[in-house]
Symmetry: C2
Subunit: 292 residues, 2 copies
Protein backbone atom coordinates (compact mmCIF):
# COMPACT_ATOMS: atom_id res chain seq x y z
CA UNK A 1 0.00 0.00 0.00
CA UNK A 2 1.38 3.33 -1.11
CA UNK A 3 0.03 5.66 1.61
CA UNK A 4 1.52 8.90 0.36
CA UNK A 5 0.11 8.74 -3.16
CA UNK A 6 1.68 7.43 -6.35
CA UNK A 7 2.14 8.08 -10.03
CA UNK A 8 0.05 6.11 -12.54
CA UNK A 9 0.96 5.94 -16.21
CA UNK A 10 -0.77 4.57 -19.27
CA UNK A 11 2.32 3.97 -21.40
CA UNK A 12 1.57 2.93 -24.95
CA UNK A 13 3.40 2.35 -28.19
CA UNK A 14 3.53 5.97 -29.35
CA UNK A 15 2.36 8.03 -26.37
CA UNK A 16 2.31 8.01 -22.60
CA UNK A 17 0.03 9.73 -20.12
CA UNK A 18 1.04 10.07 -16.48
CA UNK A 19 -1.02 11.11 -13.43
CA UNK A 20 -0.05 12.06 -9.89
CA UNK A 21 -2.58 10.66 -7.41
CA UNK A 22 -2.57 11.99 -3.85
CA UNK A 23 -3.05 9.93 -0.68
CA UNK A 24 -6.83 10.07 -1.13
CA UNK A 25 -6.58 8.74 -4.70
CA UNK A 26 -7.40 12.08 -6.30
CA UNK A 27 -5.55 13.07 -9.47
CA UNK A 28 -3.70 16.31 -8.70
CA UNK A 29 -1.34 16.64 -11.66
CA UNK A 30 -0.82 15.00 -15.02
CA UNK A 31 0.89 15.25 -18.40
CA UNK A 32 0.97 13.52 -21.76
CA UNK A 33 3.89 13.29 -24.15
CA UNK A 34 5.11 11.39 -27.21
CA UNK A 35 7.57 9.12 -25.37
CA UNK A 36 5.86 5.88 -26.29
CA UNK A 37 7.87 2.70 -25.85
CA UNK A 38 9.06 2.71 -29.47
CA UNK A 39 10.82 6.03 -28.89
CA UNK A 40 12.78 4.72 -25.87
CA UNK A 41 16.12 3.13 -26.79
CA UNK A 42 17.03 -0.26 -25.39
CA UNK A 43 18.24 0.24 -21.82
CA UNK A 44 16.68 3.71 -21.68
CA UNK A 45 13.63 2.99 -19.56
CA UNK A 46 15.19 4.00 -16.20
CA UNK A 47 15.86 7.42 -17.67
CA UNK A 48 12.38 7.61 -19.23
CA UNK A 49 10.90 6.75 -15.82
CA UNK A 50 13.14 9.39 -14.24
CA UNK A 51 11.54 11.97 -16.57
CA UNK A 52 8.15 11.18 -15.13
CA UNK A 53 9.34 11.58 -11.53
CA UNK A 54 11.13 14.81 -12.44
CA UNK A 55 7.80 16.21 -13.60
CA UNK A 56 5.37 14.72 -11.05
CA UNK A 57 7.48 13.97 -7.96
CA UNK A 58 9.50 11.16 -6.38
CA UNK A 59 6.61 8.72 -5.87
CA UNK A 60 6.05 5.02 -6.48
CA UNK A 61 4.96 4.22 -10.01
CA UNK A 62 2.22 1.92 -11.31
CA UNK A 63 2.47 1.50 -15.07
CA UNK A 64 0.09 -0.07 -17.59
CA UNK A 65 0.02 -0.64 -21.33
CA UNK A 66 2.71 -1.65 -23.80
CA UNK A 67 5.42 -0.78 -21.25
CA UNK A 68 4.80 -4.33 -20.01
CA UNK A 69 5.15 -5.96 -23.44
CA UNK A 70 8.21 -7.75 -24.78
CA UNK A 71 9.26 -4.46 -26.37
CA UNK A 72 8.79 -2.53 -23.13
CA UNK A 73 10.76 -2.11 -19.90
CA UNK A 74 10.13 -5.42 -18.11
CA UNK A 75 7.69 -7.94 -19.51
CA UNK A 76 4.57 -8.52 -17.43
CA UNK A 77 3.30 -11.83 -18.86
CA UNK A 78 -0.32 -12.00 -19.96
CA UNK A 79 -2.83 -13.22 -17.37
CA UNK A 80 -5.26 -15.68 -18.99
CA UNK A 81 -8.94 -14.82 -18.87
CA UNK A 82 -11.30 -15.15 -17.08
CA UNK A 83 -9.45 -12.42 -15.19
CA UNK A 84 -10.52 -9.73 -12.77
CA UNK A 85 -8.70 -7.20 -10.65
CA UNK A 86 -7.31 -9.85 -8.26
CA UNK A 87 -5.63 -11.71 -11.12
CA UNK A 88 -4.13 -8.46 -12.43
CA UNK A 89 -2.82 -7.55 -8.96
CA UNK A 90 -1.22 -10.98 -8.57
CA UNK A 91 0.37 -10.66 -12.02
CA UNK A 92 2.17 -7.37 -11.44
CA UNK A 93 5.78 -7.26 -12.63
CA UNK A 94 8.29 -5.36 -10.50
CA UNK A 95 11.20 -3.72 -12.33
CA UNK A 96 12.18 -2.15 -8.96
CA UNK A 97 10.84 -1.96 -5.41
CA UNK A 98 8.85 1.18 -6.15
CA UNK A 99 7.82 0.42 -9.74
CA UNK A 100 5.17 -2.07 -10.79
CA UNK A 101 3.71 -2.93 -14.21
CA UNK A 102 0.19 -4.25 -14.76
CA UNK A 103 0.00 -7.41 -16.92
CA UNK A 104 -2.08 -7.72 -20.08
CA UNK A 105 -4.82 -10.30 -20.50
CA UNK A 106 -4.82 -13.20 -22.98
CA UNK A 107 -7.42 -15.53 -24.40
CA UNK A 108 -6.09 -18.95 -25.34
CA UNK A 109 -8.80 -21.61 -25.40
CA UNK A 110 -11.34 -23.25 -27.71
CA UNK A 111 -8.96 -22.68 -30.62
CA UNK A 112 -9.13 -18.91 -30.11
CA UNK A 113 -6.21 -16.58 -29.44
CA UNK A 114 -6.30 -12.93 -28.48
CA UNK A 115 -4.40 -10.41 -26.37
CA UNK A 116 -5.00 -7.02 -24.76
CA UNK A 117 -2.64 -4.71 -22.93
CA UNK A 118 -3.85 -1.44 -21.44
CA UNK A 119 -7.60 -1.84 -21.87
CA UNK A 120 -7.78 -4.29 -18.93
CA UNK A 121 -7.15 -1.51 -16.39
CA UNK A 122 -10.11 0.48 -17.73
CA UNK A 123 -12.28 -2.63 -17.71
CA UNK A 124 -11.54 -3.61 -14.11
CA UNK A 125 -11.82 0.05 -13.14
CA UNK A 126 -15.36 0.29 -14.52
CA UNK A 127 -16.24 -2.95 -12.74
CA UNK A 128 -14.70 -1.85 -9.43
CA UNK A 129 -16.36 1.56 -9.54
CA UNK A 130 -19.65 -0.09 -10.50
CA UNK A 131 -19.93 2.01 -13.62
CA UNK A 132 -21.13 -1.09 -15.48
CA UNK A 133 -23.32 -4.08 -14.62
CA UNK A 134 -21.64 -7.25 -13.30
CA UNK A 135 -22.45 -8.75 -16.71
CA UNK A 136 -21.86 -6.45 -19.68
CA UNK A 137 -20.56 -6.42 -23.21
CA UNK A 138 -17.90 -3.72 -23.38
CA UNK A 139 -16.63 -2.24 -26.62
CA UNK A 140 -13.30 -0.43 -26.32
CA UNK A 141 -12.50 1.37 -29.59
CA UNK A 142 -8.95 2.32 -30.48
CA UNK A 143 -6.29 1.17 -32.94
CA UNK A 144 -7.41 -2.35 -32.11
CA UNK A 145 -10.99 -2.37 -30.91
CA UNK A 146 -11.75 -4.84 -28.12
CA UNK A 147 -15.13 -6.43 -27.44
CA UNK A 148 -14.95 -7.79 -23.90
CA UNK A 149 -17.60 -9.88 -22.22
CA UNK A 150 -17.64 -9.11 -18.49
CA UNK A 151 -19.26 -11.72 -16.27
CA UNK A 152 -19.08 -12.15 -12.50
CA UNK A 153 -16.94 -8.99 -12.36
CA UNK A 154 -14.27 -10.58 -14.56
CA UNK A 155 -13.16 -10.29 -18.19
CA UNK A 156 -14.54 -13.64 -19.29
CA UNK A 157 -13.60 -13.50 -22.97
CA UNK A 158 -12.81 -10.87 -25.59
CA UNK A 159 -12.17 -10.31 -29.26
CA UNK A 160 -10.08 -7.78 -31.16
CA UNK A 161 -11.12 -6.10 -34.42
CA UNK A 162 -8.47 -4.11 -36.32
CA UNK A 163 -10.85 -1.32 -37.33
CA UNK A 164 -8.81 1.70 -36.20
CA UNK A 165 -5.56 0.46 -37.72
CA UNK A 166 -7.23 -0.45 -41.02
CA UNK A 167 -8.85 2.98 -41.28
CA UNK A 168 -5.47 4.62 -40.62
CA UNK A 169 -3.69 2.41 -43.19
CA UNK A 170 -6.31 3.29 -45.80
CA UNK A 171 -6.09 6.97 -44.93
CA UNK A 172 -2.30 7.20 -44.94
CA UNK A 173 -1.14 4.78 -47.62
CA UNK A 174 -3.90 3.49 -49.92
CA UNK A 175 -5.56 4.39 -53.19
CA UNK A 176 -8.33 5.88 -51.00
CA UNK A 177 -5.94 8.26 -49.20
CA UNK A 178 -6.96 11.37 -51.12
CA UNK A 179 -10.60 10.64 -50.38
CA UNK A 180 -10.18 10.01 -46.66
CA UNK A 181 -8.65 13.34 -45.65
CA UNK A 182 -12.01 14.73 -44.57
CA UNK A 183 -13.45 14.74 -41.08
CA UNK A 184 -15.50 11.78 -39.88
CA UNK A 185 -18.85 12.93 -38.54
CA UNK A 186 -21.91 11.11 -37.30
CA UNK A 187 -24.63 11.87 -39.83
CA UNK A 188 -26.60 10.30 -42.65
CA UNK A 189 -23.46 9.32 -44.62
CA UNK A 190 -21.75 7.72 -41.62
CA UNK A 191 -24.94 5.83 -40.76
CA UNK A 192 -25.30 4.60 -44.35
CA UNK A 193 -21.78 3.21 -44.10
CA UNK A 194 -22.67 1.59 -40.77
CA UNK A 195 -25.75 -0.07 -42.27
CA UNK A 196 -23.70 -1.39 -45.19
CA UNK A 197 -21.16 -2.80 -42.71
CA UNK A 198 -23.90 -4.36 -40.58
CA UNK A 199 -25.54 -5.95 -43.64
CA UNK A 200 -22.56 -7.01 -45.72
CA UNK A 201 -19.93 -9.63 -44.99
CA UNK A 202 -17.82 -8.27 -47.84
CA UNK A 203 -15.96 -5.28 -46.46
CA UNK A 204 -12.83 -5.91 -48.56
CA UNK A 205 -15.00 -5.42 -51.66
CA UNK A 206 -17.20 -2.63 -50.29
CA UNK A 207 -14.12 -0.50 -49.64
CA UNK A 208 -13.32 -0.20 -53.34
CA UNK A 209 -16.80 1.10 -54.11
CA UNK A 210 -15.88 4.26 -52.17
CA UNK A 211 -13.52 5.20 -54.98
CA UNK A 212 -15.73 3.88 -57.80
CA UNK A 213 -18.76 5.90 -56.66
CA UNK A 214 -16.74 9.12 -56.64
CA UNK A 215 -15.21 8.39 -60.07
CA UNK A 216 -18.68 7.73 -61.51
CA UNK A 217 -20.22 10.83 -59.95
CA UNK A 218 -22.49 8.86 -57.61
CA UNK A 219 -20.97 10.20 -54.38
CA UNK A 220 -19.22 13.34 -53.18
CA UNK A 221 -15.56 12.92 -52.32
CA UNK A 222 -16.21 14.94 -49.15
CA UNK A 223 -18.46 12.12 -47.89
CA UNK A 224 -15.88 9.38 -48.34
CA UNK A 225 -14.23 9.60 -44.90
CA UNK A 226 -17.51 9.40 -42.97
CA UNK A 227 -18.84 6.61 -45.20
CA UNK A 228 -15.64 4.53 -44.93
CA UNK A 229 -15.41 4.98 -41.17
CA UNK A 230 -19.07 3.95 -40.91
CA UNK A 231 -18.49 0.91 -43.11
CA UNK A 232 -15.57 -0.32 -40.99
CA UNK A 233 -17.28 0.44 -37.67
CA UNK A 234 -20.52 -1.16 -38.88
CA UNK A 235 -18.56 -4.28 -39.78
CA UNK A 236 -16.95 -4.17 -36.34
CA UNK A 237 -20.31 -3.82 -34.55
CA UNK A 238 -21.74 -6.70 -36.61
CA UNK A 239 -18.87 -8.86 -35.33
CA UNK A 240 -19.14 -7.60 -31.75
CA UNK A 241 -22.90 -8.11 -31.50
CA UNK A 242 -22.88 -11.40 -33.42
CA UNK A 243 -23.67 -13.52 -30.39
CA UNK A 244 -27.18 -12.71 -29.15
CA UNK A 245 -26.73 -11.46 -25.63
CA UNK A 246 -29.06 -9.85 -23.14
CA UNK A 247 -26.26 -7.94 -21.43
CA UNK A 248 -25.85 -4.22 -21.16
CA UNK A 249 -23.71 -2.78 -23.98
CA UNK A 250 -21.03 -0.29 -22.92
CA UNK A 251 -18.63 1.74 -25.08
CA UNK A 252 -15.54 2.84 -23.20
CA UNK A 253 -12.61 4.92 -24.38
CA UNK A 254 -11.84 8.31 -25.87
CA UNK A 255 -15.07 10.29 -26.29
CA UNK A 256 -14.45 11.07 -29.99
CA UNK A 257 -14.39 7.33 -30.66
CA UNK A 258 -17.09 6.20 -28.24
CA UNK A 259 -19.55 8.58 -29.90
CA UNK A 260 -18.97 6.94 -33.30
CA UNK A 261 -19.41 3.43 -31.91
CA UNK A 262 -22.46 4.40 -29.85
CA UNK A 263 -24.07 5.76 -33.04
CA UNK A 264 -23.22 2.55 -34.91
CA UNK A 265 -24.64 0.39 -32.10
CA UNK A 266 -27.86 2.43 -32.25
CA UNK A 267 -28.07 1.62 -36.01
CA UNK A 268 -27.89 -2.04 -34.95
CA UNK A 269 -30.96 -1.41 -32.74
CA UNK A 270 -29.10 -1.63 -29.46
CA UNK A 271 -28.46 1.10 -26.92
CA UNK A 272 -24.96 1.67 -25.56
CA UNK A 273 -23.77 3.47 -22.47
CA UNK A 274 -20.71 5.65 -23.14
CA UNK A 275 -17.96 5.79 -20.52
CA UNK A 276 -14.89 8.00 -20.52
CA UNK A 277 -11.83 5.76 -20.71
CA UNK A 278 -9.61 8.02 -18.63
CA UNK A 279 -12.08 7.98 -15.75
CA UNK A 280 -12.17 4.17 -15.91
CA UNK A 281 -8.36 3.99 -16.07
CA UNK A 282 -7.99 6.12 -12.94
CA UNK A 283 -10.59 4.02 -11.12
CA UNK A 284 -8.79 0.80 -12.07
CA UNK A 285 -5.26 1.93 -11.39
CA UNK A 286 -6.32 3.42 -8.04
CA UNK A 287 -7.95 0.17 -7.00
CA UNK A 288 -4.88 -1.82 -8.07
CA UNK A 289 -2.62 0.51 -6.04
CA UNK A 290 -4.75 -0.14 -2.95
CA UNK A 291 -4.11 -3.87 -3.39
CA UNK A 292 -0.30 -3.53 -3.39
CA UNK B 1 -5.65 -0.75 -89.73
CA UNK B 2 -1.99 -0.60 -88.95
CA UNK B 3 -0.55 -2.85 -91.67
CA UNK B 4 3.11 -2.52 -90.78
CA UNK B 5 2.82 -3.54 -87.18
CA UNK B 6 2.42 -1.40 -84.07
CA UNK B 7 3.54 -0.97 -80.48
CA UNK B 8 1.22 -2.06 -77.66
CA UNK B 9 1.71 -0.92 -74.07
CA UNK B 10 0.13 -1.85 -70.78
CA UNK B 11 0.82 1.39 -68.91
CA UNK B 12 -0.05 1.30 -65.26
CA UNK B 13 0.35 3.42 -62.17
CA UNK B 14 3.88 2.35 -61.28
CA UNK B 15 5.13 0.34 -64.28
CA UNK B 16 4.72 0.05 -68.02
CA UNK B 17 5.32 -2.86 -70.36
CA UNK B 18 5.64 -2.27 -74.11
CA UNK B 19 5.61 -4.76 -76.99
CA UNK B 20 6.48 -4.43 -80.66
CA UNK B 21 4.08 -6.46 -82.79
CA UNK B 22 4.99 -7.15 -86.42
CA UNK B 23 2.60 -7.11 -89.41
CA UNK B 24 1.49 -10.66 -88.62
CA UNK B 25 0.65 -9.73 -85.02
CA UNK B 26 3.63 -11.54 -83.55
CA UNK B 27 5.52 -9.96 -80.64
CA UNK B 28 9.09 -9.41 -81.79
CA UNK B 29 10.48 -7.11 -79.09
CA UNK B 30 9.45 -5.84 -75.68
CA UNK B 31 10.60 -4.10 -72.51
CA UNK B 32 9.33 -3.20 -69.07
CA UNK B 33 10.34 -0.23 -66.95
CA UNK B 34 9.27 1.79 -63.92
CA UNK B 35 7.83 4.76 -65.85
CA UNK B 36 4.31 4.35 -64.54
CA UNK B 37 1.98 7.31 -64.96
CA UNK B 38 2.74 8.67 -61.49
CA UNK B 39 6.40 9.12 -62.46
CA UNK B 40 5.57 11.18 -65.55
CA UNK B 41 5.34 14.93 -64.87
CA UNK B 42 2.35 16.88 -66.12
CA UNK B 43 2.89 17.60 -69.82
CA UNK B 44 5.57 14.92 -70.01
CA UNK B 45 3.65 12.17 -71.79
CA UNK B 46 4.79 13.05 -75.35
CA UNK B 47 8.35 12.59 -74.18
CA UNK B 48 7.50 9.38 -72.32
CA UNK B 49 5.86 8.06 -75.48
CA UNK B 50 8.95 9.12 -77.44
CA UNK B 51 11.03 6.88 -75.14
CA UNK B 52 9.00 3.90 -76.19
CA UNK B 53 9.43 4.63 -79.91
CA UNK B 54 13.15 5.23 -79.40
CA UNK B 55 13.41 1.70 -78.00
CA UNK B 56 10.95 -0.20 -80.21
CA UNK B 57 10.70 1.82 -83.44
CA UNK B 58 8.60 4.59 -85.00
CA UNK B 59 5.30 2.70 -85.09
CA UNK B 60 1.69 3.54 -84.19
CA UNK B 61 0.89 3.02 -80.51
CA UNK B 62 -2.06 1.36 -78.81
CA UNK B 63 -2.02 1.98 -75.06
CA UNK B 64 -4.07 0.49 -72.23
CA UNK B 65 -4.27 0.86 -68.47
CA UNK B 66 -4.07 3.89 -66.19
CA UNK B 67 -2.56 5.95 -69.05
CA UNK B 68 -6.23 6.53 -70.00
CA UNK B 69 -7.28 7.67 -66.51
CA UNK B 70 -7.78 11.24 -65.36
CA UNK B 71 -4.18 11.17 -64.09
CA UNK B 72 -2.84 9.84 -67.41
CA UNK B 73 -2.07 11.31 -70.83
CA UNK B 74 -5.56 11.77 -72.31
CA UNK B 75 -8.63 10.48 -70.53
CA UNK B 76 -10.45 7.62 -72.25
CA UNK B 77 -13.83 7.70 -70.49
CA UNK B 78 -15.13 4.43 -69.04
CA UNK B 79 -17.38 2.35 -71.29
CA UNK B 80 -20.36 1.05 -69.30
CA UNK B 81 -20.83 -2.72 -69.13
CA UNK B 82 -22.10 -4.93 -70.65
CA UNK B 83 -19.11 -4.26 -72.89
CA UNK B 84 -17.18 -6.36 -75.37
CA UNK B 85 -14.41 -5.70 -77.82
CA UNK B 86 -16.63 -3.62 -80.15
CA UNK B 87 -17.52 -1.21 -77.33
CA UNK B 88 -13.85 -0.85 -76.39
CA UNK B 89 -12.87 -0.18 -80.02
CA UNK B 90 -15.56 2.49 -80.34
CA UNK B 91 -14.40 4.11 -77.09
CA UNK B 92 -10.74 4.58 -78.07
CA UNK B 93 -9.30 8.00 -77.22
CA UNK B 94 -6.85 9.54 -79.71
CA UNK B 95 -4.15 11.80 -78.26
CA UNK B 96 -2.64 11.94 -81.80
CA UNK B 97 -3.26 10.41 -85.22
CA UNK B 98 -0.96 7.48 -84.50
CA UNK B 99 -1.69 6.99 -80.79
CA UNK B 100 -4.84 5.48 -79.34
CA UNK B 101 -5.82 4.65 -75.74
CA UNK B 102 -8.21 1.85 -74.76
CA UNK B 103 -11.02 2.94 -72.39
CA UNK B 104 -11.73 1.31 -69.04
CA UNK B 105 -15.05 -0.32 -68.17
CA UNK B 106 -17.53 0.85 -65.54
CA UNK B 107 -20.47 -0.68 -63.73
CA UNK B 108 -23.11 1.82 -62.69
CA UNK B 109 -26.52 0.23 -62.21
CA UNK B 110 -28.71 -1.43 -59.57
CA UNK B 111 -27.08 0.79 -56.94
CA UNK B 112 -23.67 -0.72 -57.68
CA UNK B 113 -20.56 1.15 -58.77
CA UNK B 114 -17.27 -0.26 -59.95
CA UNK B 115 -14.47 0.49 -62.40
CA UNK B 116 -11.65 -1.36 -64.14
CA UNK B 117 -8.84 -0.07 -66.33
CA UNK B 118 -6.35 -2.46 -67.92
CA UNK B 119 -7.97 -5.80 -67.11
CA UNK B 120 -10.60 -5.30 -69.86
CA UNK B 121 -8.02 -5.86 -72.63
CA UNK B 122 -7.05 -9.22 -71.14
CA UNK B 123 -10.70 -10.17 -70.76
CA UNK B 124 -11.71 -9.38 -74.33
CA UNK B 125 -8.47 -10.98 -75.52
CA UNK B 126 -9.33 -14.27 -73.82
CA UNK B 127 -12.83 -14.09 -75.30
CA UNK B 128 -11.59 -13.25 -78.82
CA UNK B 129 -8.95 -15.99 -78.76
CA UNK B 130 -11.53 -18.43 -77.39
CA UNK B 131 -9.36 -19.20 -74.39
CA UNK B 132 -12.49 -19.11 -72.22
CA UNK B 133 -16.11 -20.16 -72.69
CA UNK B 134 -18.61 -17.56 -73.97
CA UNK B 135 -19.99 -17.60 -70.40
CA UNK B 136 -17.35 -17.65 -67.66
CA UNK B 137 -16.56 -16.22 -64.27
CA UNK B 138 -13.11 -14.66 -64.51
CA UNK B 139 -10.97 -13.78 -61.50
CA UNK B 140 -8.19 -11.32 -62.24
CA UNK B 141 -5.92 -10.98 -59.18
CA UNK B 142 -3.73 -7.94 -58.67
CA UNK B 143 -3.67 -4.89 -56.42
CA UNK B 144 -7.43 -4.76 -56.90
CA UNK B 145 -8.77 -8.18 -57.77
CA UNK B 146 -11.61 -8.22 -60.31
CA UNK B 147 -14.32 -10.87 -60.57
CA UNK B 148 -15.85 -10.45 -64.02
CA UNK B 149 -18.87 -12.31 -65.31
CA UNK B 150 -18.50 -12.86 -69.04
CA UNK B 151 -21.70 -13.63 -70.94
CA UNK B 152 -22.41 -13.54 -74.67
CA UNK B 153 -18.74 -12.64 -75.22
CA UNK B 154 -19.11 -9.45 -73.18
CA UNK B 155 -18.11 -8.29 -69.70
CA UNK B 156 -21.62 -8.33 -68.26
CA UNK B 157 -20.82 -7.26 -64.71
CA UNK B 158 -17.85 -7.26 -62.34
CA UNK B 159 -16.76 -6.62 -58.80
CA UNK B 160 -13.50 -5.42 -57.26
CA UNK B 161 -11.98 -6.78 -54.02
CA UNK B 162 -9.05 -4.88 -52.50
CA UNK B 163 -7.15 -8.01 -51.46
CA UNK B 164 -3.74 -7.22 -52.97
CA UNK B 165 -3.65 -3.66 -51.69
CA UNK B 166 -4.77 -4.70 -48.20
CA UNK B 167 -2.09 -7.38 -48.00
CA UNK B 168 0.54 -4.85 -49.08
CA UNK B 169 -0.67 -2.25 -46.56
CA UNK B 170 -0.52 -4.83 -43.77
CA UNK B 171 2.93 -5.96 -44.89
CA UNK B 172 4.42 -2.49 -45.25
CA UNK B 173 2.82 -0.40 -42.55
CA UNK B 174 0.87 -2.38 -39.93
CA UNK B 175 1.44 -4.05 -36.58
CA UNK B 176 1.69 -7.29 -38.58
CA UNK B 177 4.57 -6.00 -40.76
CA UNK B 178 7.31 -7.92 -38.96
CA UNK B 179 5.31 -11.12 -39.29
CA UNK B 180 4.52 -10.75 -42.99
CA UNK B 181 8.07 -10.54 -44.36
CA UNK B 182 8.12 -14.24 -45.20
CA UNK B 183 7.32 -15.81 -48.55
CA UNK B 184 3.74 -16.77 -49.35
CA UNK B 185 3.54 -20.38 -50.44
CA UNK B 186 0.67 -22.67 -51.26
CA UNK B 187 0.68 -25.33 -48.57
CA UNK B 188 -1.19 -26.43 -45.47
CA UNK B 189 -0.85 -23.03 -43.75
CA UNK B 190 -2.02 -21.07 -46.78
CA UNK B 191 -4.97 -23.44 -47.21
CA UNK B 192 -5.92 -23.14 -43.54
CA UNK B 193 -6.04 -19.36 -44.03
CA UNK B 194 -8.16 -19.85 -47.14
CA UNK B 195 -10.64 -22.05 -45.27
CA UNK B 196 -10.91 -19.48 -42.47
CA UNK B 197 -11.57 -16.79 -45.08
CA UNK B 198 -14.17 -18.93 -46.83
CA UNK B 199 -15.94 -19.72 -43.55
CA UNK B 200 -15.73 -16.43 -41.69
CA UNK B 201 -17.35 -13.12 -42.49
CA UNK B 202 -15.09 -11.44 -39.94
CA UNK B 203 -11.78 -10.81 -41.67
CA UNK B 204 -11.12 -7.53 -39.84
CA UNK B 205 -11.12 -9.55 -36.60
CA UNK B 206 -9.38 -12.66 -37.92
CA UNK B 207 -6.39 -10.56 -39.01
CA UNK B 208 -5.49 -9.69 -35.41
CA UNK B 209 -5.40 -13.35 -34.40
CA UNK B 210 -2.31 -13.72 -36.62
CA UNK B 211 -0.37 -11.67 -34.10
CA UNK B 212 -2.09 -13.09 -31.02
CA UNK B 213 -1.36 -16.69 -32.01
CA UNK B 214 2.34 -15.93 -32.41
CA UNK B 215 2.51 -14.04 -29.10
CA UNK B 216 0.83 -16.94 -27.30
CA UNK B 217 3.04 -19.57 -28.92
CA UNK B 218 0.22 -21.15 -30.91
CA UNK B 219 1.71 -20.41 -34.34
CA UNK B 220 5.13 -19.93 -35.89
CA UNK B 221 5.93 -16.41 -37.06
CA UNK B 222 7.29 -17.93 -40.28
CA UNK B 223 3.77 -19.14 -41.14
CA UNK B 224 2.13 -15.73 -40.75
CA UNK B 225 2.59 -14.49 -44.34
CA UNK B 226 1.11 -17.62 -45.94
CA UNK B 227 -1.75 -17.73 -43.43
CA UNK B 228 -2.63 -14.04 -43.85
CA UNK B 229 -2.47 -14.23 -47.64
CA UNK B 230 -4.72 -17.30 -47.49
CA UNK B 231 -7.15 -15.56 -45.16
CA UNK B 232 -7.50 -12.52 -47.45
CA UNK B 233 -7.68 -14.61 -50.64
CA UNK B 234 -10.17 -17.02 -49.04
CA UNK B 235 -12.34 -14.02 -48.13
CA UNK B 236 -11.99 -12.78 -51.70
CA UNK B 237 -12.99 -16.15 -53.19
CA UNK B 238 -15.98 -16.36 -50.83
CA UNK B 239 -17.14 -12.99 -52.24
CA UNK B 240 -16.38 -13.94 -55.84
CA UNK B 241 -18.17 -17.27 -55.71
CA UNK B 242 -21.06 -15.98 -53.57
CA UNK B 243 -23.60 -16.18 -56.38
CA UNK B 244 -24.16 -19.83 -57.34
CA UNK B 245 -23.16 -20.05 -60.97
CA UNK B 246 -22.68 -22.96 -63.32
CA UNK B 247 -20.09 -21.13 -65.42
CA UNK B 248 -16.50 -22.08 -65.94
CA UNK B 249 -14.15 -20.39 -63.44
CA UNK B 250 -11.00 -18.82 -64.89
CA UNK B 251 -8.09 -17.14 -63.12
CA UNK B 252 -6.18 -14.77 -65.34
CA UNK B 253 -3.11 -12.67 -64.59
CA UNK B 254 0.44 -13.03 -63.37
CA UNK B 255 1.24 -16.71 -62.78
CA UNK B 256 2.53 -16.16 -59.22
CA UNK B 257 -0.90 -14.75 -58.30
CA UNK B 258 -3.11 -17.04 -60.38
CA UNK B 259 -1.57 -20.08 -58.67
CA UNK B 260 -2.59 -18.72 -55.24
CA UNK B 261 -6.15 -18.01 -56.35
CA UNK B 262 -6.47 -21.34 -58.17
CA UNK B 263 -5.46 -23.12 -54.95
CA UNK B 264 -8.00 -21.09 -52.97
CA UNK B 265 -10.76 -21.83 -55.48
CA UNK B 266 -9.96 -25.54 -55.16
CA UNK B 267 -10.42 -25.22 -51.37
CA UNK B 268 -13.89 -23.84 -52.19
CA UNK B 269 -14.58 -27.08 -54.15
CA UNK B 270 -14.42 -25.48 -57.58
CA UNK B 271 -11.89 -25.99 -60.33
CA UNK B 272 -10.28 -23.01 -62.02
CA UNK B 273 -8.47 -22.71 -65.34
CA UNK B 274 -5.33 -20.57 -65.10
CA UNK B 275 -4.49 -18.22 -67.96
CA UNK B 276 -1.38 -16.12 -68.39
CA UNK B 277 -2.42 -12.47 -68.36
CA UNK B 278 0.27 -11.34 -70.78
CA UNK B 279 -0.89 -13.82 -73.41
CA UNK B 280 -4.47 -12.56 -73.01
CA UNK B 281 -3.32 -8.94 -73.20
CA UNK B 282 -1.51 -9.54 -76.47
CA UNK B 283 -4.54 -11.36 -77.89
CA UNK B 284 -6.83 -8.49 -76.92
CA UNK B 285 -4.64 -5.62 -78.01
CA UNK B 286 -3.92 -7.38 -81.33
CA UNK B 287 -7.61 -7.81 -82.02
CA UNK B 288 -8.32 -4.17 -81.11
CA UNK B 289 -5.56 -3.02 -83.48
CA UNK B 290 -7.19 -4.97 -86.31
CA UNK B 291 -10.40 -3.05 -85.70
CA UNK B 292 -8.80 0.38 -86.06
Amino acid sequence: MWRDGFIAADWGTTNRRAYLLDASGKCVDEFEDGKGILSVPSGGFEEAVGDIRARLGDKPLLLAGMIGSNRGWVEAPYVPCPAGIEELARGLAWPGKREAIVPGVSLNRDGRADVMRGEEVQLVGAIAAELIDPTALVCHPGTHNKWALVRHRQIETFRTVMTGELFNLLKEHSILSDLLRGKVEVGETFCRGVRDGLDSAEVTAELFTVRARVLLGKAESSDAASYTSGLLIGTDVRIGLSEPLAAQVVVMGRPELTSLYAAAIREAKREAIELDGERCFLAGIGKLAEMI
